[in-house]
Every structure is written in C-alpha cells, then in structure tokens.
C-alpha cells in the first residue's frame, strides 16, 4: 500500500453553516441574497476574487453554483443574485430571512485582478448581464488608484429595469469612470443590435486599446462581432475576458458535468479569454 495517497484535508464537499441575512427583490424576478457564515472567523477569512462562484445548499433540496456579486473589498456579507429557475433556486426564493443554509467555496479562477492592476479596463455588458460584472466593478472602484482608465458601456432599454441598474445612475456621476448606456432596438433576440450598440458606445469613448483589458458580460453566442471589433482596435487576445456557465454538480473538478472542450469550467473557468476560446472547442 506504499504510495497510496492519504486524505490530509477536510472534506471539500462539506458545506459550512451560513444564514440568509436579507433578501431584496430586484427587477426580472431576481432576488439579491445577503449571506453570512455562522463562524465569525470564516466571515473574515473568506477570501475570493471577483468572478469566482460558490456552491450553495438549501437543506433537504440540493446544491447549485452561484456567482458572488459582492466585492472582496467589502467583507462581511456575501451577496448573490438568483433567478428562480429550478428546484434549488425556487426553494432558495422561498427561504425566510435568517434561514440556515450551507455554503462552500469560493471556486473557479475568477478575473486575473493581479495582472489587471495598472491597466485600463473596459466593462461591457449586454442588457440583464449588467449584474454579472458587479463584483469586479466594485472591486475596481474600491481600489480605484490601482487601475488606469475605467470605461463602462452597457446596453439597456431602461436602466431601472435591470438588476443593479440603479447603480448606473450614480456611476454616471462619478468623475473617475466613463459611463455610457446605449438603448438597443426593440426585440433583438440575436443580440445583434446589442453588440452594434456596444461597439458604437465604445467608439464614442475613444478608449486606448494598448494593454487594456476588456471584460464582456452577455450571451456568449452574441460576442463574435464585439470580439472582432476589439481585436481590430488592437486589444490583445488574452485580455478579452468573459465568464461562461455550464451545468455543475461539484464545483471541484470531480463530477465531470461542466466540461467545455478539454477543460472543466469549475477549475479552469468560469473566466476564459478570447485566446482560450480560440483553442477550445465548444465555447459558443
């Protein structure tokens, strides 16, 4: 039995006790959940990067992955924004404040914030995906002096109908971030107009492409025209970033459900670059 690996760490599948502290209704039937571990030390030590996710268990129902939408620069409460879609999400929506839940994580690679320091950043979002960049946006604003020019372009019929859309109005008032909200043509299922508007909005901002990170949030199938524009402008392939979703049952590279091409989304993602996408089949 020589050489057989020994278990030396706690069970990675074991969720930690946590509570729902507050629930807030957002547009599009999304609920914002503020969560807190029971163990105060865990609240202080729970370290994560924008773009990482956690696995949340509703006791007696099941477990599912959710992106963390709060920022590691604001410790104490962890926030997730959940759309009701199946068993776990429905049970979660039915939970009362103070309910006991289980949380494990954080998982996934997250945005490469160390590498992004001192660079200019473009935050580009399509309609309801605006919320997906919230953790990164807050992180950048809370560490504003560590980053270069920050430019945000979002498409929205009406900002107040988006989850966290109210944040757009006060973002627009800040001097240290360029903010553009573009209204797409009505009923744009293929997202073509969303992408066209994003590109038009970007043109107005006269951003510098050299060394800039472009972080995209939207339906991946809609991305190609935006990718093409960014590449033509000279944004480098490994600096065009976006987050992908797949079915996940474990979050730690064991259950196999989240594979994309040759990678597991839960380990190698969920944040991928345009260059990854070029070398990885099945991204879109």
């Amino acid at each position: 039995m020589n050489g057989v690996p020994v278990a030396t760490k706690p069970d990675p599948l074991q969720p930690n006790r946590a509570h729902v502290i507050r629930v807030q209704r957002l547009p599009l039937e999304i609920n914002l959940f503020q969560l807190r571990f029971e163990d105060e030390e865990l609240n202080l030590s729970f370290d994560f990067k924008p773009g990482q996710f956690l696995m949340l268990s509703v006791i007696g129902v099941g477990e599912a992955p959710f992106a963390i939408v709060s920022s590691p620069s604001r410790r104490g409460l962890i926030e997730i924004a959940v759309r009701q879609s199946g068993r776990v999400t429905t049970a979660l929506h039915n939970l009362k404040e103070n309910a006991l839940i289980g949380i494990r994580g954080p998982y996934g690679n997250g945005y490469p914030i160390e590498r992004m320091r001192r660079s200019d950043v473009l935050l580009l979002s399509e309609g309801p995906w605006f919320g997906a960049l919230r953790s990164l946006r807050w992180y950048i604003l809370d560490n504003r002096k560590d980053f270069g020019q920050v430019t945000l372009v979002a498409t929205a019929d009406d900002a107040k109908d988006l989850p966290f859309g109210d944040e757009l109005s006060w973002l627009g008032d800040r001097e240290d971030i360029t903010c553009r909200v573009c209204r797409p043509a009505a009923r744009d299922a293929e997202g073509q107009d969303h992408m066209a508007r994003l590109i038009a909005g970007l043109r107005q901002t006269k951003f510098v492409a050299q060394g800039t990170y472009a972080v995209l949030a939207g339906e991946p199938a809609h991305f190609p025209p935006l990718w093409d524009y960014l590449l033509e402008r000279g944004v480098s392939k490994d600096k065009i970033l976006f987050s992908l979703q797949r079915k996940m049952r474990c979050g730690i590279g064991k259950c196999g459900h989240c594979s994309i091409g040759y990678k597991y989304t839960c380990l190698d993602g969920p944040v991928f670059s345009y260059w990854d996408a070029q070398n990885l089949p099945e991204v879109i």
């Binding site: 760490k9 069970d11 990675p12 006991l100 797949r246």
Partner: protein, 353 residues
C-alpha cells in the same frame, strides 16, 4: 556461485505452486475482506466479496464491472444533514481491511488513475480512506480480441500492487510490490518457494508470449493532436446516430468517474443525506440545466466528449490518457461501437470536403 548470490540477494519475488493457490487465497482472507472475480452463469465474471476462496475464478479475463465498484461504489452517501444542524461529512464505512484479488495490469493502472482523480487539490476522503485500507493482488492474463492495453501502455504494472502473480503453467511467479506484500509472504512462509534461474526464464517467456498475443494496435502517440484536428469530423455524427445513450460504456469503464448528486430526505422530513451516484456523459440529461437548455443536446457532442476527455482533457489535467485499453466498453455496447475501430478510423480516414 554467481547465480546463488544473485538469488539470495534478490528477495522481491517468490514462486507459488498451483496447488498452493487456494492456500494463498485463504491466507489473503486473513488480511481483510477478500474480493475477487467470481464466475457468473453465461461465462462472465464479476468482482465480489468471496465466501469460499474456491469461488474465485483464477482464469477470469474481463469482469463485467471493473474493481472501481468496490473503491468507488455506484452510490455513496457523502453528507448527512438535519434541518437545524446543517451538513456533516459522512465517513467511509466499509470493511476495516479489503483485499482485492485478481486485478490485471489494465485494472491496476485504472486504480492508479482513480487515485490521481480523487487526491490532489480537492481530496475525496471516502475514496482515499477505502483505498488506504485496500491491498491489491495483481494477476497476469493473456489478451483476447478486445484487449489493447499494450497500445495504451498499461499492459504492465510496475507499481500499484502489493503482490503480482504471473501464471507460468505449473506455478505462479509472485512479485512483491510493497511492505504489506512482504508481510503476506512472511505469513505464508511455507506455501512459497524461492525463485530459480529457470523460473526467471519462464517468466521472460511468458512476457514475450503475452506481447505477441495482442491482435490490435491502436496508434495513440499523435492522437491528441489528430483528435483536435478532427473535431468536426463526420465520424462523430455517425457515431451519434448509432449510440443509444444507454451509458453502459461509462458504467463498465474502470476509469470513468463522473457522478450526479441528489439529496434524499428521511421520513421525518427534517433530516437526510446527500448521495452521489455514477453518471454517464452519454446520457441526455448530463449537461441539461434549469429551463431545459442542454449544452450537449446532440448525441454526437456527447460521444465526442467521451473520447476527447479520455484522450486529451485527461492528459492535460493528469499527464496521461485515462483509457487503459481493457475493452470493457466494446463488450458492453449494444450499438457495437468499438473504441479500437473509432481510434483507428480517426487515423485512417481522410477529411471529406
């Protein structure tokens, strides 16, 4: 004189006369709960706990299910929960000691593969606990027309066993792999004999005969790159049309480990357990998410995933492919899809424009 000195110093092999094989199995039973291949009706055999050592089929070639079913059971309780207590990791509750007898080199290599999957950054404590308590006794074999483990380079075991038995006709040549293996030999002092020069010759002979007995060769060296190039090949479409999505190939594969999870609530409605169950990437529900969207709607993308994961993704993550060439998926497939044919076709077929 030369050869006698060599034999005295070279203590990591013994000879076991065939009529002493039952004696070894009885001895192994004293080292833990003994599992081995037991013959079913219809000529197949299955790994199971053996009551009488004589039930073990010493000539079994390919069991229906691989030994993973003992180390990584089809269903397993991961956690217990209560409404107000939350979750508690469930410890492994198998036999205190397990002796797995009769693993061929492909299966030993498969166990080493599972060891890699379940250790590392995120450890699976139940698998590792069971594995720590398991002794592995290897047994050699002669390949049939479904075996291709010499192509996958898993036809030999240099580690992963405590003892390894090679059939030399009249006797078994017993290699000692670990200190535990040596303990077994010491405990059975009277049934083993020292090896002599003639047994080494016979061992070499057997090795050569075994090499010559493989009827297939599958080209695997350039395979990852060729597979990447063939991502859009028509092969996947036609395999997708043939496959029934039954998932048998995953169940019988000694290195397939994908699983699904569900929470099982007890009758009191307040407690229960989280259970893991073997899953297969070939089934329609594998990548289906809430709202009915399915990331792998087409059967062709699922069957392709099976090959790409084993031959490319696994190499990226763990440094070698995960197929050990045991041929079980070929034997099990109701659609008669053969991994040997598929991999060979990938190499031979020209791209059709």
């Amino acid at each position: 004189m030369e050869s006698r000195r060599f034999l005295a110093g070279h203590a990591n092999a013994r000879l076991l006369a065939k009529d002493k094989a039952i004696g070894l199995l009885e001895l192994l039973g004293s080292f833990g709960e003994l599992y081995g291949p037991v013959r079913n009706g219809g000529g197949s055999s299955t790994f199971r706990a053996v009551k009488k050592p004589a039930d073990i089929d010493l000539n079994s070639l390919r069991t229906l299910l691989p030994p993973k079913k003992i180390l990584y059971p089809p269903t397993d309780e991961l956690l217990e929960f209560t409404a107000d207590g939350g979750f508690r990791s469930k410890e492994e509750t198998g036999p205190a000691r397990i002796v797995l007898f009769g693993l061929h080199p492909c299966d030993i290599n498969a166990v080493l593969t599972l060891d890699q999957v379940f250790s590392g950054r995120f450890e699976e404590p139940r698998y590792l606990a069971r594995r720590r308590r398991t002794a592995v006794i290897g047994l050699d074999c002669l390949p049939d027309e479904l075996c291709f483990c010499h192509s996958t380079k898993t036809d030999f075991s240099d580690r992963g066993f405590d003892l390894f038995l090679t059939d030399l006709g009249e006797a078994y040549f017993v290699r000692i792999g670990t200190a535990l293996g040596d303990d077994i030999i010491r405990a059975g002092r009277d049934i083993f004999q020292p090896i002599g020069p003639e047994s080494i010759d016979q061992y070499k002979d057997k090795t050569n005969r075994r090499h010559a007995a493989f009827s297939h060769r599958v080209e695997l060296v350039d395979l990852p790159h060729i597979l990447e190039l063939d991502y859009d090949s028509e092969i996947w479409e036609s395999l997708g049309r043939k496959c029934f999505s039954c998932g048998s190939c995953s169940a019988v594969c000694p290195t397939c480990y994908c699983y699904d999870v569900f929470d099982q609530v007890n009758l009191d409605g307040r407690s229960g357990s989280r259970v893991r169950i073997w899953d297969s990437c070939l089934t329609n529900s594998f990548a289906r998410v809430a709202d009915g969207h399915n990331y792998r709607q087409d059967k062709s993308t699922r069957i392709k995933l099976r090959y790409y994961h084993k031959q490319i993704a696994f190499v990226e993550q763990y440094g070698r492919p995960s197929c050990v060439g045991c041929g079980r998926c070929i034997a099990a497939c109701p659609a008669e899809i053969s991994v040997i044919d598929v991999l060979n076709a990938i190499f031979r077929e020209k791209v059709v424009k």
